[in-house]
Symmetry: C2
Subunit: 115 residues, 2 copies
DNA sequence: ATATAATGTCGTATAATTGCGACATACTAC
DNA sequence: GTAGTATGTCGCAATTATACGACATTATAT
């Protein structure tokens, strides 16, 4: 996102946008759900369960890994991908704080006093 | 996202990805925070408070509007943009459900039993 | 050592996003 | 009406994302 003028926004806004971007593709949502549903996951299996090529899935995995949302440990010939549940909980709190802040003001409901 | 193979994913996954995408740019996060901080907002004012041109801000506003996250009522010469707090609350719940599901399984912590 | 299997990386084509200037539209005021 | 103000839309350029085939890499097995 070098082209985007991200530098001018607060670190908080950038952080939220970064994580939101990671979730902004159904394949990545599906990958996280898949990892959550199992205790051990292997990249090959993931590609097998998604309607995408192995290459593309690998790419999505790298994106999630770059944000540390998932981790991959090499275990012999296969790679065991796991969720970083600790970070996910932090991210959840960030989102919650954002949504709570955004929904606190009720005045602008349709027919409200402001418009 | 016509090029993306979204059709092959569940409606739930697509919905979460759609909303995440709306939040995937710091400018849009900033816009929502700005609207939340005021009871009445006008598009021109928004552009004035962001490090982006009026055109670009307008574009981001349209994206948020397309998802119905914000609403704009024409009020004479100006447009009053408001948050759709009801929808935002629903979205918050969707995200919470997703994160709770994702963080339920603790078994894959570093040094856990699976890897 | 050689074959097989599991993954990652590279290159490339296509599509979507971002950003903004220039123009169009619509409303207000006079 | 005309002038001025507030916004939206169009068109273009630069950047980034998406998708995948072909190749590289690494480990296991025989």
């Amino acid at each position: 996102m070098t082209y985007a003028k991200t530098a001018a926004f607060t670190e908080e806004q950038q952080q939220l946008a970064r994580v939101a971007k990671a979730l902004a593709h159904p394949a990545r949502v599906a990958i996280i759900q898949l990892l959550a549903s199992k205790k051990t996951c292997i990249s090959g299996d993931i590609a097998a369960e998604l309607p995408l090529s192995r290459t593309t899935v690998s790419q999505h995995l790298q994106e999630l890994k770059a944000l540390d949302l998932i981790r991959g440990e090499i275990d012999g010939l296969t790679v065991c991908y796991c969720l970083n549940t600790e970070l996910l909980r932090q991210v959840h709190q960030q989102f919650t704080a954002f949504f709570v802040e955004s929904t606190a003001n009720e005045a602008c409901a349709p027919g409200g006093t402001c418009c």
